[in-house]
């Protein structure tokens, strides 16, 4: 590179470069990635675990039951039926060529399912249900009744006025993921902004930096560098997670709406994170030593934990309110959108509020930073920092 760049860009690139050389950061990112892929793969695997059974029928009635079972089997199960005489069937079960054999009792009222060792509960369940259906049908038709005329459990239909149950469990899962990602990024990338400001204050590099470039540029560079890192990490996490979900063998429901909302989440995340970055920078400027930060960061970490819990647990009106409060809105609004009944103007309005807050905090942080960064004697309170002269 042979051209000179704007100072904020140089600062931002350096933040990125330093972080990428940080082994702890690289390892934790790769670890999280592995975790995401693992979790998605596991979900897919569990959802699609297929079972293949082969069962021998030893008489016409057992064959009829097995045929019924084949009709009733769930999607992820296959059932191969063979017709053998009892002796052959026993031999094949013995040699484990087939999983089980089914034999009717002499009175045709009960049946025996024989396996090599303990029978798979799924298979047992399937066969028992099928048997009941077949035997009931036979009994009914013997009485001249049609099985279809009987009332069944299916006659009760369920409805809910809002959403549906599968959807709400998806929302709960995604709410957790969004909240946790935001909380993690806010700490992993926010804290270093404060620390790097303190480091430069503590080492007095800031005197050289401040006489070379405007502090605004320095501050902007630090924030942008960490925003880039946080966004790239978030996009990689979300991207890999969604990709793994698409590629997973089983079908994960609501992938379409999750993908769309993930896009919105990225936008809200960006706004919320910028806001936090400004606050972190100001906290860094107020502190003199890294230890000061432990005290002053208490409230902000508390707020972040609160946001995480709002994301995970909040419902109804409280969630709607939270979806307009900056920082909380970064998780609350995307979570509301998962339910699919949020009008487009709502996220846009919330975003506007967020960006306005973001701008205000950045301006304010710059003031604090400009004043406090040259101050060397002990940690400052906000009020004292505002009074300092340049």
């Amino acid at each position: 590179m042979n051209t000179t760049s704007a100072p904020w860009l140089i600062v931002a690139l350096r933040e990125v470069e330093t972080k990428l050389k940080d082994k702890a950061f690289v390892i934790s990112t790769l670890g999280t990635l592995a975790l995401i892929i693992g979790a998605v793969a596991l979900t897919g695997f569990l959802g699609s675990k297929s079972a293949d059974y082969s069962v021998a029928a030893t008489d016409p009635l057992s064959y009829q039951v097995l045929t019924e079972a084949q009709d009733q089997r769930p999607e992820n199960m296959s059932l191969a039926i063979s017709q053998l005489d009892p002796g052959q069937a026993r031999d094949q079960v013995q040699s484990q060529d087939i999983d089980a054999m089914l034999a009717s009792s002499a009175d045709q009222r009960s049946m025996t399912l024989t396996g090599f060792d303990e029978l798979d509960a799924d298979l047992e369940q399937l066969v028992s249900t099928a048997m009941r259906t077949v035997l009931t049908d036979q009994l009914l038709s013997a009485q001249g009744l049609d099985a279809f005329a009987l009332p069944t459990a299916d006659d009760l239909e369920t409805e809910q006025l809002q959403g549906d149950s599968e959807r709400s469990s998806m929302i709960r899962a995604m709410a957790f993921i969004f909240s946790f990602l935001f909380y993690m990024a806010a700490l992993i990338f926010g804290m270093p902004i404060a620390n790097s400001v303190i480091e430069e204050k503590q080492n007095r590099v800031v005197e050289i930096l401040a006489s070379t470039v405007r502090l605004r540029q320095l501050l902007a560079g630090k924030i942008i560098g960490n925003v880039i890192l946080a966004m790239v990490q978030l996009l990689v996490f979300l991207g890999v997670g969604l990709l793994a979900a698409y590629l997973a063998p089983g079908e994960i429901p609501f992938l379409g709406v999750v993908s769309t909302v993930a896009g919105w989440f990225v936008v809200f995340f960006l706004g919320g994170f910028m806001l936090l970055a400004g606050i972190w920078a100001a906290l860094g400027a107020l502190a003199t030593r890294t230890e000061d930060l432990q005290q002053s960061s208490g409230p902000i970490i508390g707020a972040l934990v609160a946001v995480m819990f709002i994301g995970i647990y909040a419902k109804g009106g409280f969630l709607v309110l939270a979806s307009y409060i900056p920082i909380a809105s970064s998780v609350a609004m995307p979570i509301r959108m998962l339910s699919g009944d949020v009008a487009l103007w709502e996220p846009l309005l919330s975003l506007a509020v967020l960006l306005a807050a973001c701008w205000a905090v950045l301006l304010f942080s710059e003031r604090i930073y400009r004043r406090a960064v040259m101050h060397t004697g002990g940690a400052l309170t906000l009020r004292r920092a505002m009074k300092l002269e340049l």
Binding site: N2, P7, I10, N203, R204, E207, I208, A210, S211, R214
Partner: protein, 293 residues
């Protein structure tokens, strides 16, 4: 020429700089001396734009310096400031880039300076692994990277061993001789004599002297040193002679007129041997002590 005009500054009602005026000429090394708390660092920070003056201006070649950055100045802060946990070359390149050098140019300049300080083989070491003297050399390199138009160095010699002092002196000389105004503060008065061409003395926020070393020495060169063959006590009774110090056969005196000096010389010769009779050129350190009294 860098000029400080009528600069005053107070911190919370306390006046720290009171109408400070001085110049830092081109082609000369300017020493800035004063006790702790006299206002040296505050003055330098105001020159660098880090602090604002309550009143007054700083100008370079007649043009007032504006804004709060001085990207074309080289600055070495009093409390040294670099990144201890980072490789030397990385931070020098970073600072060079912030001073609008390209990455490759910054690297080239940094390696050149490190070579000059004999530190080129340590380029990839972390700063904190270097000795204090070497860390200071890196700090100077950081101030020189971008070929600054003006050099402002706060206590560049403190903590340096004599060899390092020599190499630092020669670097400062080199810059001064290229026409760069160089202002450095120092506590080490003995360095002043060999080094500075121009001296600014500050006390309690006021400038007590702002003159070339030559003029300062000349202004104080009214004294004579005498070394006689015998006791010099008789000088106390001579008219037109103000005795400053007599110890045995040696004396330090002020003559009221040139005639007085010649008369005393003749008298001394008539009394015995005279091994030394010379105008006493005071060291700048002595002048400093004299001025701040």
């Amino acid at each position: 020429m860098l000029e400080v005009h009528n600069v005053s500054r107070s911190f919370a009602e306390r006046l720290v700089l009171d109408d400070v005026n001085f110049t830092v000429p081109r082609g000369a090394l300017t020493g800035f001396v004063g006790a702790n708390g006299a206002g040296k660092t505050t003055t330098m920070r105001i020159i660098m734009g880090l602090l604002k003056a309550s009143s007054g201006t700083v100008s370079l070649d007649g043009k007032p310096l504006e804004g709060d950055t001085r990207p074309h100045f080289g600055y070495m802060p009093e409390e040294r400031g670099l990144y201890p946990k980072q490789p030397i070359i990385d931070q020098l390149v970073y600072l060079g880039q912030l001073h609008s050098l390209s990455r490759s140019e910054a690297r080239r300049r940094a390696m050149e300076l490190l070579a000059r300080f004999g530190l080129d083989d340590r380029a990839k070491s972390k700063l904190e692994s270097l000795s204090l003297g070497n860390q200071q050399r890196v700090q100077v390199a950081a101030a020189l990277l971008h070929e600054p138009e003006v050099l402002i160095l706060d206590e560049p010699f403190s903590g340096l061993d004599p060899i390092a002092v020599d190499s630092m002196s020669s670097i400062l000389r080199d810059y001064a001789s290229r026409g760069v105004p160089v202002l450095f503060s120092s506590h080490q008065l003995d360095l002043l004599d060999v080094l500075v061409d121009h001296l600014v003395i500050i006390q309690d926020g006021r400038i007590l002297a702002n003159a070339s070393a030559e003029d300062l020495r000349a202004s104080q060169a009214t004294r004579h040193k005498l070394s006689l063959g015998a006791d010099a006590g008789w000088l106390r009774d001579e008219p037109g002679v103000e005795v400053i110090d007599i110890s045995g056969s040696r004396a330090l005196v002020n003559f009221q007129t040139e005639t007085d000096s010649q008369r005393v010389l003749r008298e001394a010769l008539s009394l015995g041997t005279v091994t030394e009779f010379a105008i006493h050129r005071p060291a700048l350190a002595d002048i400093y002590r004299e001025i701040i009294k």
